[in-house]
C-alpha cells in the first residue's frame, strides 16, 4: 500500500475553496511548512481552518491570513499575529476560540468516532453559553462535539510509504490528534523511508489514518522565542 505523493501541490489535489481543513502545530513548532506554501500558491479562498494557533505575521498560517484565504479560524490562542487580531477586530475574520484541551479532545473524538463528550473546561464562562451542561460527581460539565475536516494536514519527523508516522519532541502537539480527524489526511515528513524501516514500537500514528504522504523540502523550522541560558 503506497501512499506517497510527489510534493505538497499533489498532496492538496482536490481541495476546494469553502472547505474545512486542520493544520497541525503549536506556535511555529511542528507546522506543515510545505503544504502551507502550496495552499498560499493555490489561491483557494473561503477556507475554515482548525489550528491551535494562527502563526505569526510572516510565517506559518499568517501567510494564508495575509492573503485573506481564510474565512473562519477555530483556535485556542492567536496571540502572536497582529494581522489576525486586526482582521478579527474589524470583523473580516470569523473566529471560534476554544479551550486548548477541549480542542485537542474534540479532534481526538472526531477521529475516534465519538460524536460528543462532557468536559468541565469553560463551564460558567462565555465558552459555556448556549451549551448543554450536566453534573457529574458534583461538578458541572459542558457537552462538546467532535471535530472533523475535509482535509487534515500534519507534519511528522519520520514517515514511511504506508503512512506510519513518528513525531519528534514537542513537534507532535496537535498533529497526532488531527491525523485521525481528517477525511483525507496529508502528512509531510522530514524523512520518508520505505515500509519496514520504522520500528513498529515507535510509531505514533498508524498508517491507517493517513491517505497521502510526501517528503518535505527546505524546512525553515523558525523559532518563535529563542531563550537561552548565559
Amino acid at each position: 500500500m503506497n501512499k506517497v505523493v510527489k510534493n505538497a501541490n499533489e498532496a492538496i489535489e482536490g481541495m476546494q475553496s469553502g472547505q474545512t481543513f486542520m493544520l497541525g502545530g503549536f506556535g511555529l513548532c511542528g507546522i506543515p511548512e510545505n503544504t502551507i506554501k502550496a495552499l498560499v500558491a493555490s489561491g483557494l479562498t473561503n477556507l475554515t481552518c482548525i489550528s491551535n494557533n494562527a502563526g505569526v505575521d510572516d510565517f506559518g498560517l499568517g501567510l494564508l491570513l495575509r492573503k485573506h484565504q481564510i474565512k473562519k479560524m477555530i483556535s485556542s490562542y492567536v496571540g502572536e499575529n497582529k494581522e489576525f487580531e486586526r482582521q478579527l477586530l474589524s470583523g473580516e475574520l470569523e473566529v471560534d476560540l476554544i479551550p486548548q484541551g477541549t480542542l485537542a479532545e474534540r479532534l481526538r473524538a472526531g477521529g475516534a468516532g465519538i460524536p460528543a463528550f462532557y468536559v468541565p473546561a469553560g463551564y460558567g464562562t462565555e465558552v459555556g453559553e448556549g451549551k448543554e451542561s450536566r453534573e457529574f460527581n458534583g461538578k458541572m460539565h459542558l457537552l462538546e462535539f467532535a471535530l472533523t475536516a475535509d482535509f487534515a494536514v500534519v507534519k511528522a519527523w519520520k514517515g514511511d510509504t504506508m503512512g506510519n508516522l513518528v513525531y519528534r519532541e514537542t513537534a507532535n502537539n496537535f498533529n497526532q490528534a488531527m491525523a485521525m480527524a481528517g477525511k483525507i489526511t496529508i502528512a509531510e515528513v522530514e524523512i520518508l523511508v520505505p515500509a519496514g524501516e520504522l520500528n513498529p514500537n515507535e510509531v505514533h500514528t498508524p498508517g491507517i489514518f493517513v491517505q497521502r504522504i510526501f517528503q518535505g523540502v527546505d524546512y525553515e523550522k523558525r523559532i518563535e522565542f529563542e531563550t537561552v541560558t548565559e
Binding site: 503549536f26 506556535g27 511555529l28 513548532c29 511542528g30 491551535n52 483556535s75 485556542s76 490562542y77 492567536v78 496571540g79 502572536e80 487580531e85 478579527l88 477586530l89 473566529v95 476560540l97 479551550p99 486548548q100 484541551g101 477541549t102 480542542l103 485537542a104 479532545e105 479532534l107 481526538r108 468536559v119 468541565p120 473546561a121 469553560g122 463551564y123 460558567g124 464562562t125 462565555e126 465558552v127 519527523w157 513525531y167 519528534r168 519532541e169 514537542t170 513537534a171 507532535n172 502537539n173 496537535f174 498533529n175 497526532q176 490528534a177 505514533h204 523550522k221 523558525r222 523559532i223 518563535e224 522565542f225 529563542e226 531563550t227 537561552v228 541560558t229 548565559e230
Partner: protein
Amino acid sequence: MSLDKNGIAKRIAQELKDGYYVNLGIGIPTLVANYVPENIEVVLQSENGLLGIGPFPKKGEADPDLINAGKQTVTTIAGSSFFDSSLSFAMIRGGHVDLTVLGAFEVTDTGDISSWKIPGKMVKGMGGAMDLVAAAKNIIVATTHTDRNGEPKLKTKCDLPLTGIKCVKTIVSDLAVIEVTDKGFKLLERAPGVSVEEIIAKTGAPLIVEGDIPEMKL
C-alpha cells in the same frame, strides 16, 4: 515592602511538595521554577506535550522542535517524556497534575478568575487556561495585589470575562498570601513590612483577619 516578581515566585515555591507534578503559567509563575527547594523533586508539565521541563538551552543549542507552552526554547531532564496535546490535557483534566500556578486579571472571594480577555482590546484566546483551572486539584494565583491604576484585583465579582468559576484556592500577591475559603478571602500572611491595614485597603472584598498575621518567611 511589597514583593517583586521574584519574591512572589519565591513564596509560591514554598508551596511545592516532593513528588509534585506542576504546571506553571506564563509570566511570574514561570519564575517559580527558579526557587524549587533543593531537598525536593518536582516535575514540570508543559501542556504542549512535555513532562519534565529542563532549563533554557545554552546559546547555539536551541532546538526548534523543543519548546514550552510559552513557545520558548527549553531542554529536557533525565526522565522527561513527550506526548500529543490530547494526552497532555488528559493529564490535566484527569487530575494527575498536582498544582497549577497562573496569573490573573481579577480573582473573586468565591474563587472565580478572569485572565484571558479584555473585550475590544485583547483577543488572544484562552489557550489552556480554562482547562487548567477547571480541572487542577490545587490552583495558586500569582499576581500583583492591584492593577496599574491602583485598583484592586481581588474583588467580589469579575468585571472581565471569566476563565473559570469557584476554582482558585490561594492567592500569592506582592502584599499577601490569601486563602479563598467558603466564607471568603482569608489573610494568611503579609509581605515583610506590609501592614494588615494596607492589605485591607487594597483588597476589593471583605477580608477575614484572625489574630496576629505573620510576615512571610522568604
